[in-house]
């Protein structure tokens, strides 16, 4: 589940490749989508005035039409409405899981990067062990202990992304710590704390914003996977993974039930990636 670790390394590398700021079209589209998702999360009624839980048994299994753009589900609920209203769950889960993973990663990474060899060695071994649990495995184990549900799924995703973040933060910290400008600050007579606060932390943490943007997309995909496996959000909650899971039962007769929630998961992840990389590039070239 350290996809985002790879993503981050990727952006670091792409920053170096010195490509011009391309992808203007993609960024524009991602911006529009991002705005749509943001409105969906904050004020879903604005985009979909209906009730995401409102049933209409007589209109069940309606294929996409003018009245129901994305069709209806087995209880006649409008899928467009549910997808829009589901954004907030997915975004909150994604953001919370990323915050947990990033928070843990910052603690572990800072410990390893700042507190000398012994701590670094210990934390590194610990991370190595965590890496030996493929992400979903760690999440499943966590859910096994604490039981399924949205909260546990969120924490589980956060936990399983933490090692990746920790490794990035540690690397970043060590790179920044050894940077020439840190030495220059020492020569200017700055204390360790001043250097830490003014130089090392800002330069370590600023790139994390980009990382977090990329991470939210991946976290949403993973949380949806857990929901899909019946270990996350529960129906009839309009969470995308849970909707997809419910729709999967009817895949042979009502493909739209699983297609659209899945499409939004993909679009959200793509949007997060494109925006994250664009922010990153802009920060680098600023």
């Amino acid at each position: 589940m350290s996809d985002l670790a790879q993503q981050a390394e990727l952006t670091t590398r792409s920053g170096q490749s010195g490509q011009p700021l391309r992808l203007g079209v993609a960024e524009g589209m991602a911006g529009v989508l991002g705005l749509f998702l943001l409105i969906s999360a904050v004020a879903p009624q604005f985009l979909a005035p209906g009730d995401p839980l409102g049933i209409d048994p007589l209109a069940a299994f309606a294929p996409p039409s003018f009245a129901h753009g994305f069709g209806t589900d087995e209880s006649g609920r409008d899928i467009y409405t549910r997808v829009v209203h589901g954004t907030q769950y997915s975004l909150v889960i994604g953001v919370a899981a990323t915050a947990i993973g990033l928070g843990l990663g910052i603690v572990l990474g800072t410990l390893a990067g700042m507190l000398g060899r012994v701590v670094d060695f210990t934390v590194n071994r610990f991370l190595e062990v965590l890496f030996a649990f493929p992400g979903l495995l760690l999440a499943l184990l966590f859910i096994l202990v604490f039981g399924p549900g949205v909260a546990t799924a969120t924490i589980a995703v956060g936990l399983s992304t933490a090692p990746g973040y920790a490794r990035i933060i540690r690397g970043q910290l060590i790179a920044v710590r050894g940077a020439a400008f840190v030495e220059a600050a020492t020569v200017l007579g700055r204390t360790r704390w001043q250097i830490l606060l003014r130089h090392i932390l800002p330069n370590t943490l600023a790139p994390l914003f980009v990382l977090a943007t990329l991470g939210v997309g991946q976290a949403i995909v993973w949380a949806a996977t857990l929901s899909y496996l019946g270990l996350g959000a529960e129906p009839p909650t309009a969470e995308w993974g849970a909707m997809l899971s419910a729709g999967r039962t009817y895949i042979t007769s009502a493909w739209w039930m699983s297609f659209f929630p899945g499409l939004f998961i993909v679009l959200t992840a793509v949007t997060a990636t494109v925006l994250g990389r664009s922010i990153d590039r802009r920060m680098r070239h600023a």
Binding site: M1, S2, V270
Partner: protein, 329 residues
């Protein structure tokens, strides 16, 4: 400031040094691997201790069962649940050290043979998916860096979208299209070629997106590097530049990522094996988790950890093979 390793001072070391160094490195690797396995076993052991409920109850069919107190006591004694936790832990470690993974609560068989049985199918899937992902990523990377803005944009967009595809959605969509609408590929996976296509595609496409992004970026860097210019100045063709020089460099980050990729394929196997009704570790694990079958969970976790460690060693070895510079340090 370190003196560069010159032929002279390396000859001085004689033959013994490199051999000892290699042995030392191997030893350190082995110690590291054993440490990781020990830690994985310990974490899993204590984590499952935290699972609410009486493990003896789980053996006898969970809380819905009607196990008598006598049966519970008998099971407790048989499985050692009545021992202090630390004793149980040591017993467990001792058994693991001898390769004994214990007995499944739910499957009425020893975990070792069970897990080994399931390993094959998952490995086949993972290896095929990893290979296919490499092929797709390589093709995409070489094609999209051939020049031309359109190819670059299309390539980059394809990679980003592919990397964002959740396995479960991709699998479902592939079944709908290829099994239900077109009806050319079976929705249930078997080890036949046709039966492997959809699950392997499901696992390979998102991975190819990741690998492709990385490969394309590093390929671009490699293609701009001076040694490529040198090669071109020697009269090397574009194809030669790519295949003799650039791709080798571009594949390095992707190779070292393949260890991680393997782990993510195992994660993906949980979903894919369930949807395509394929036997394998992933499905075994998910079943064991829903059934609270602790020995199977530990068994799968251990075998995945071993596989992951071996995979890491393998990717390291391949990296060393591709990049001889790594052999020196």
């Amino acid at each position: 400031m370190v003196e560069p390793v010159t032929p002279a001072n390396r000859r001085r070391d004689g033959l013994a040094r490199p051999v000892f160094r290699a042995l030392g490195r191997l030893g350190a690797r082995l110690a590291g691997a054993i440490f990781v396995l020990w830690a994985v076993a310990s974490i899993t052991f204590f984590a499952v201790r935290l699972i609410p409920g009486d493990p003896a109850q789980a053996v006898l069919g969970g809380p819905g069962s009607q196990a008598s107190p006598e049966a519970l006591a008998a099971v407790s004694a048989e499985y050692g649940f009545d021992q202090p936790v630390f004793t149980q832990y040591l017993t467990q470690l001792g058994r693991l050290a001898t390769g004994d993974l214990g007995r499944s609560y739910s499957l009425n068989m020893d975990v070792g043979p069970l897990v080994l049985d399931q390993l094959g199918g998952t490995l086949l899937l993972a290896v095929l998916a990893l290979s296919l992902a490499w092929v797709i990523a390589l093709a995409l990377a070489t094609w999209s860096t051939r020049g031309g803005l359109v190819a670059a944009r299309v390539g980059s967009s394809l990679e980003i979208v592919a990397a964002a595809l959740p396995h479960f959605w991709l699998a479902t969509s592939l079944i709908v299209v290829f099994s239900i609408w077109i009806g050319v590929l079976p929705p249930i996976s078997t080890d036949s070629l046709a039966g492997l296509v959809l699950p392997v595609l499901t696992l390979a496409v998102p991975l190819a997106g990741f690998l492709g992004q990385i490969m394309r970026e590093s390929l671009l860097i490699a293609l701009e590097s001076p040694f490529v210019l040198s090669a071109r100045a020697r009269g090397e063709s574009e194809r030669g530049v790519r295949w003799v020089h650039a791709l080798r460099h571009a594949s390095l980050p992707a190779i070292s990522l393949s260890g991680w990729a393997f782990g993510s394929l195992i994660s993906g196997a949980v979903v894919v094996e369930t949807i395509f009704a394929r036997p394998g570790l992933g499905r075994t694990l998910l079943n064991a988790v829903t059934l609270r079958d602790v020995p199977v969970v530990i068994g799968v976790v251990m075998i995945v950890a071993v596989a992951y460690i071996l995979m890491t060693l393998l990717t390291d070895a391949v990296s060393r093979l591709v990049d001889p510079r790594l052999r020196l340090s």
